[in-house]
């Protein structure tokens, strides 16, 4: 039985000179996103660095706990102490043990789990020195009160609220965190490599999994560490970087096939290396799941939603992982990897929560009720200021044509201004994913940052973002008749900007940034519209292009059949594919097309100054952007731009 799940995750690690982190705060942080999960499972892992040779074995067991104890002894473990707790139909059995060697304990636990799981009778879910897992069936607050988590404190915490698509709802086996010795993991996603990963573990002697990808991830990480990989090497391996980037050597790549993750995942891993504690956050290479990183004076944070971090500290520095990025910090070493270019991390915005005057205080209003509250207020006032927005979702969805001006302070949750036609949204803070989906008109101004998938299938109106935005910005934008949408980003964007774009204009200004303000795969599948990016963008980032190795082979084959000359080969060999395509002719070009491109082809790109017509079109937009956002942007239009448009014009 397998059990894919969606979820909310959270991780926090204290800094070296800070105090321990209170359980109560962690419970609040995960409970704030309980709508991401369900009553089907939640859990916590707490780490307190501990160098003693004592281990706590924690198991759920539905049989007689005496049997379990005997089995533990049979496996050669010395039980020093025990505590048994009946929860529903199972016993939460905890045994304090001492061991002669870690290897023997490892073996004992494997055997135990294989024996117990045969008839799904039980499961060892946590074995560790510094690490303890508390999990069960219920919402995070239920589990917290069951185990008194609120009263605990720790050097590092992981927390999880679970959204299963299936598993017997009354057993705790499938709840997160999953743990394997000194590692605990919470995960949001559903990896498509699950079956392959299980096969890898099978070849390492592991059997009898409860059947979630999260458990498999914990075991994989442990196997990699046991093979002698460093924390960072193990993380890179799991992340499955594209071969073309040559981050893994061919030999490692080969040897660890089946040990890498695919599909959507954001995972938070806690690891006790014996003398240090590591907090690790990883995101899949398409960044299908949200992953927010935070830092303040006291702690490092990883969360599914910004709200969770803001509850700890409204003024924390917050940024996002890049697609395929990883964050690592340790108690002793501090930040090891930020998960993003430090120059960009500096530019992320901190929201304002409370303006001097406001009409609605959202801190007392649930996300569903906020829309109602706004509509009530709209009877007396058309320009409404709302304070303390904290992850409220769907704002504006049931009044797309109301024609209101909303001034939102704080952090707006997912799916704001979807289907919007006539409202104006001014957000003095950050906006989460899926903003402005299928927007028909009106305007959205974000004075902070936007996260992933802003402006999907936007068909009219304007969206202005002062700060940075995430993955898949402006995908599927389109225009029809007299309606043309404009999306302006003051900072940077990640991958897949303008994917499937069919109309409208995206302008990326990258203000205050020296590097190119976009990620990879710009304009893939673009059939219309235009993307303007300030500065020169590496042509390798446009569309989807073949890798260098295959391209070289291909060119060699063309020489062999005299479809190109040796001289041409030498001229092409170091050029990017888009440049080669401009030069190839006749049959050679036909082969190249057929090899790498689909019907849509790779978009055209130019690097030049804007022409008169473009200035005439864009200047009023940028001036409006200035008026809304403040600051000087219009002078940027005189610089050179990379201009991307459909090749099928």
């Amino acid at each position: 039985m397998i059990s894919p799940s969606g979820c909310g995750v959270f991780g926090v690690l204290r800094k070296r000179n800070s105090g321990k982190i209170k359980g109560k705060l962690v419970v609040n942080a995960i409970d704030s996103v309980r709508y991401r999960g369900s009553d089907k499972g939640a859990g916590f892992a707490v780490f307190n660095l501990n160098r003693r040779n004592e281990y706590l074995v924690k198991a759920f067991y539905s049989g007689n706990s005496q049997e379990l104890e005997e089995e533990l002894r049979r496996q050669g473990l010395r039980i020093e102490d025990k505590s048994l707790k009946e929860i529903g139909e199972v016993c939460d059995c905890n045994f304090q043990i001492t061991i002669s060697s870690v290897a023997s304990l490892r073996k004992a636990v494997r055997n135990l789990n294989e024996i117990m799981w045969k008839d799904m009778e039980g499961r060892v879910y946590s074995v560790g020195r510094s690490l303890q897992v508390y999990k069960g069936v219920g919402y995070p607050s239920d589990i917290a009160s069951l185990y008194n988590v609120n009263e605990m404190d720790g050097d590092m915490w992981l927390a999880h609220t679970r959204q299963p698509t299936n598993s017997p709802g009354h057993y705790p086996y499938w709840s997160h965190p999953f743990s394997s010795f000194d590692i605990a993991i919470v995960h949001n996603g559903d990896v498509s490599s699950f079956g392959a990963n299980v096969e890898f573990l099978r070849s390492r002697g592991w059997e009898g999994f409860v059947g979630t990808d999260s458990e498999v991830m914990a075991f994989l990480f442990e196997e990699l560490i046991n093979d002698g990989l460093s924390v960072e090497e193990a993380v890179k391996m799991l992340l499955n970087p594209p071969r073309r980037q040559r981050i893994l050597s061919s030999h490692e790549d080969y040897l660890y096939r089946n040990a890498r993750l695919d599909g959507p995942f954001t995972a938070v891993i806690g690891y006790d290396s014996g003398d240090d504690l590591y907090l690790i956050g990883i995101a899949d290479r398409s960044k299908f799941r949200p992953a927010i990183i935070g830092e303040d004076e006291n702690n490092f944070y990883i969360a599914s939603e910004e709200t969770q971090i803001r509850l700890f500290n409204p003024k924390a520095k917050v940024w996002t992982l890049t697609p395929g990025g990883y964050f690592i910090a340790s108690l002793n070493r501090g930040v090891i990897s930020l998960g993003r270019d430090p120059e960009i991390v500096k530019n992320y915005s901190i929201p304002i929560f409370i303006p001097s005057n406001y009409d609605i205080d959202a801190s007392n209003v649930g996300y569903k009720d906020l829309n109602k509250e706004i509509l009530n207020f709209a009877k007396i006032k058309r320009d409404i200021t709302i304070a303390n927005v904290m992850g409220h979702r769907f704002i504006g969805i049931n009044f797309p044509r109301e024609g209101l001006t909303l001034r939102l302070y704080g952090i707006v949750g997912n799916a704001m201004a979807n289907l919007n036609e006539k409202n104006i949204f001014q957000v003095y803070g950050n906006v989460a994913d899926d903003c402005c989906d299928t927007m028909q008109g009106g305007k959205v101004v974000i004075h902070g940052d936007a996260r992933d998938v802003i402006g999907q299938a936007m068909q009219g109106g304007k969206v202005f973002v002062k700060g940075n935005s995430g993955n898949r910005v402006g995908i599927q934008m389109r225009e029809y008749q007299d309606r043309r949408p404009y999306l302006v980003i003051g900072g940077v964007t990640d991958d897949y900007l303008g994917e499937y774009m069919a109309g409208g204009v995206i302008l990326v200004l990258g203000k205050g940034v020296r590097r190119e303000p976009v990620g990879n795969f710009v304009g893939t599948g673009m059939v219309g519209g235009r993307i303007y990016i300030r500065g020169k963008v590496d042509p390798l980032k446009i569309g989807l292009q073949p890798n260098k190795y295959e391209l070289t082979r291909f060119l060699k084959a063309l020489v062999m059949e005299e479809l190109i000359t040796q001289e041409e080969y030498l001229e092409y060999i170091d050029r990017p594919y888009v440049e080669i395509m401009k030069r190839l002719q006749g049959e050679a070009k036909k082969y190249a097309r057929r090899m790498f491109e689909e019907k849509i082809g790779i978009p055209d790109y130019e690097y030049r100054e804007l022409n008169e017509g473009e200035i005439k079109e864009l200047m009023p937009i940028v001036e409006e952007f200035e008026a809304d956002i403040g600051g000087k942007y219009s002078d940027l239009l005189s610089e050179k731009f990379t201009i991307i448009s459909s090749s099928k014009k």
Partner: protein, 710 residues
């Protein structure tokens, strides 16, 4: 030209699910609106046709007594019939109008599909509108104009695949409905880019409810994890799920996807219904079963297996005159159902409405007759009554999944023709195009229609949806490359052509194509200039094979035992398992060696290379890799067969197209299954496969579970 009559049925020379018997039955209903004798489907291999009602009388009356009234999300329906989700654009306008009108006249329901609302369709009160990945023509008015909203995640004919309406078909009326400029390609992304997980889906369901107050349904393809998906959908607050099975129709789909991904609706529905019940989520939740529902007996069986309502799509088209030419994507439909909208040929709306209404009435009367014959007075009483059913000719595992009684039968897996006409034609098109072949309407692939010829023919591949997104190989990076020989050798796809004994006219183009596309060639000798792509026995190629074990050389094993014992020898990079030499099924050989080496803890030190003269296409390769092979050696004959009787001109280009086409097909399948790193994620990943009625003994040998199992 106005079409207001049926055209004569062409002869069927190939295997077809929509047999003349089935089509003629639907025509009779559509002409008379009265019940008639049901098709017998004697030779059908479909699972549903191997399930029968026990103790059913055979009476037929025009005035059956049973009550068919049913409720979907509180909406009363005169009969449990949903007219399934065919878009304006896939159909050419008038058929859409006819379907919507018929739904209103018969008090059933019609799904509009993605493509915006035709203004005439919008007038019907009995429609479900669609929220699909491209949002074509969607605004608050569109969303509010039906009785419900369908979030379309997937469809049975192309799990995990998006849509692409070429610019040439985006004529003025289509452009208006979809609100995109005329002549521009209309692309529907494979996944919804706001729905990558179950909680994302929950968010969209909630958002649409907030926006419109309408009940929300979710349409998915029947895939490996359907029971989990169904419970997730229910838990997220949807009113129901439309489960679209393998074999469902479509206006355009890559043939390799249609024929190899997804599972039959009967297994998916039974399994989803059971899981929903266990989870306590079944009450008040609607299951609409879609895919190959051809007549009232199908409907009755599906309802007894756990569906509430059945969806008819292809059958509705047949009622309006479809003769199953499988050419909707060309845009020149002879019956004016799916042709390009340019005024040259139109279906008469009146004819369409009349045929549809008669069909629905006749179908319903037949369903009521079945209930009468079972001694059941209302459709609610039939619902979930699995004890009325009995299976014959199904494997033990499958009978358990269906939860019915039956006589188990473990079938010989290799009864069919290895190279039938359809397979040859598919390859023929592939070598002419160099990209995946597009086709339309439902699949005729084994094991449901054509007789399986190999074990792989019983295996279906997963399509990612809801809990994880599929990946669009045209717009996003999918890496089909494989490293072999401890990482020293790079293949851009796990395919190697064996040119041993091939005439020069085939071997030379294949060799060149292998070089151009970073594939490899298997043969005894290494010609100069091709060292990098030669897998040969003379020691001059990039990889060397041998019949005897020796350091650095791949061994052609004579038996599984030999391969296993040689795994102790020093310096052997891998094994070639040649079906022709060992004389056992390649699927079993590969899987067993893979498993053995894993049990010994040494799997990743070796390559397992599968080889046979009986391999046919990229799907065979894909499935063999997921059973544990690191690469597959195919016979050069594939190119010869693909050319067939045709001209042997341009062999270089066609060899190139063959390998490029395979590569793209592999990327399509991997992407549909939600994988971007094919070697790491696919090799040995049996979880991605499901068997459909495969002999239980073989299924457990290759460690593949049956479709619908948990």
């Amino acid at each position: 030209m106005i079409i207001r009559n049926y055209i004569p049925l062409p002869k069927q020379t190939d295997s077809e699910f929509w047999t003349l018997e089935r089509i003629e039955h639907i025509r009779k209903l559509a002409i008379n609106g009265l019940p008639t004798e049901l098709p017998r489907n004697k030779n059908s291999l479909r699972i549903l046709d191997k399930i029968q009602f026990l103790n059913i009388a055979q009476d037929l009356t025009n005035n059956p007594k049973a009550n068919l009234q049913t409720y979907v999300a509180g909406i009363p329906m005169s009969s449990p019939l949903y007219l399934g989700d065919m878009s304006y654009g896939a159909l050419s306008g008038n058929p859409n109008i006819a379907i919507a009108k018929a739904a209103e006249l018969t008090e059933t329901l019609a799904g509009t599909g993605e493509g915006g609302l035709h203004p005439e369709v919008a007038k019907s009160k009995r429609i479900f509108v669609q929220w699909a990945s491209a949002r074509f023509g969607v605004d608050i008015d569109t969303l509010s104009s039906g009785l419900g909203i369908v979030i379309k995640i997937g469809q049975g004919a192309k799990p995990g695949i998006g849509g692409h309406l070429p610019g040439s078909k985006v004529t003025h009326p289509i452009s208006k409905a979809r609100r995109i400029p005329e002549g521009i390609d209309a692309i529907s992304p494979a996944p919804h880019h706001d729905i990558y997980s179950i909680e994302d889906l929950g968010q969209r369901i909630e958002a649409l409810k907030e926006a419109t107050g309408k009940p929300i349904f979710v349409k998915v393809a029947a895939t490996n994890y359907i029971p989990y998906i169904a419970s997730g959908v229910a838990r997220m607050g949807a009113s129901g799920i439309i489960i679209d099975g393998h074999g469902a129709g479509t206006g355009a789909t890559p043939e390799v996807i249609r024929d190899n991904l997804g599972i039959p609706t009967e297994l998916a529905v039974a399994s989803a219904d059971s899981t929903l019940k266990t989870e306590g989520l079944r009450e008040g939740f609607t299951i609409i079963a879609a895919g190959r529902v051809a007549d009232a007996l199908d409907a009755a069986k599906l309802i007894a297996l756990g569906a509430d309502v059945v969806s008819v799509g292809t059958a509705a088209l047949v009622a309006m005159g479809c003769v199953m030419v499988h050419k909707c994507h060309i845009g020149s439909c002879p019956t004016a159902l799916t042709n390009k909208i340019d005024g040259t040929r139109d279906l008469e709306v009146e004819f369409g409405v009349k045929s549809m209404v008669n069909f629905i009435r006749g179908f319903s009367l037949e369903l009521a007759n079945i209930l009468d014959n079972l001694g059941i007075s209302s459709i609610q009483e039939l619902h979930g009554k699995r004890d009325l059913l009995f299976a014959k000719g199904l494997s033990r595992d499958l009978i358990d999944i269906l939860g019915i009684r039956g006589e188990a039968e473990e079938i010989n897996p290799k009864m069919g023709e290895l190279w039938n006409k359809r397979r040859k034609f598919h390859l023929h098109e592939l070598i002419n195009l160099g990209e995946p072949v597009i086709t339309s309407m439902g699949s005729v692939a084994p094991p449901d229609v054509e007789t399986p010829a190999r074990i792989v023919d019983w295996l279906r591949v997963d399509g990612a949806q809801v809990t994880r997104p599929s990946i669009d190989p045209y717009r996003e990076e999918i890496d089909t490359s494989f490293l072999l020989n401890r990482g020293k050798v790079y293949l851009s796809l796990p395919v190697i052509f064996d040119i041993t004994g091939s005439p020069e006219e085939f071997s030379r183009p294949l060799r060149w194509a292998a070089l151009a596309l970073s594939s490899m060639i298997f043969s005894p000798e290494t010609p100069e200039g091709f060292e990098d792509v030669s897998f040969t026995s003379d020691g001059k190629g990039v990889m060397t094979w041998s019949y005897t074990p020796s350091e650095g050389k791949y061994v052609i094993a004579r038996s599984l035992e030999e391969a296993e014992s040689l795994s102790n020898e020093k310096g052997i990079p891998g094994f070639i398992l040649d079906e022709d030499i060992v004389g056992e099924d390649l699927e079993v050989l590969v899987s067993e060696l893979d498993t053995k080496l894993k049990d010994l803890g040494i799997r990743n030190k070796f390559d397992i290379i599968a080889k046979s003269s009986k391999l046919r296409d990229s799907a065979d390769v894909f499935k063999l890799v997921s059973l544990g092979s690191d690469a597959v050696i195919m016979p050069y004959k594939v190119l010869e067969i693909a050319i067939g009787e045709g001209s042997k001109r341009d062999l270089r280009e066609r060899a190139f197209n063959l390998i490029a086409g395979f590569k793209k097909e592999i990327a399509l399948m991997a992407g549909a299954a939600g994988m971007y790193g094919v070697q790491s994620s696919l090799t040995g990943n049996r979880e991605i496969l499901r068997a459909v009625n495969l002999n239980s003994y073989i299924a457990s040998k290759i460690r593949v579970r049956q479709a619908g199992s948990l």
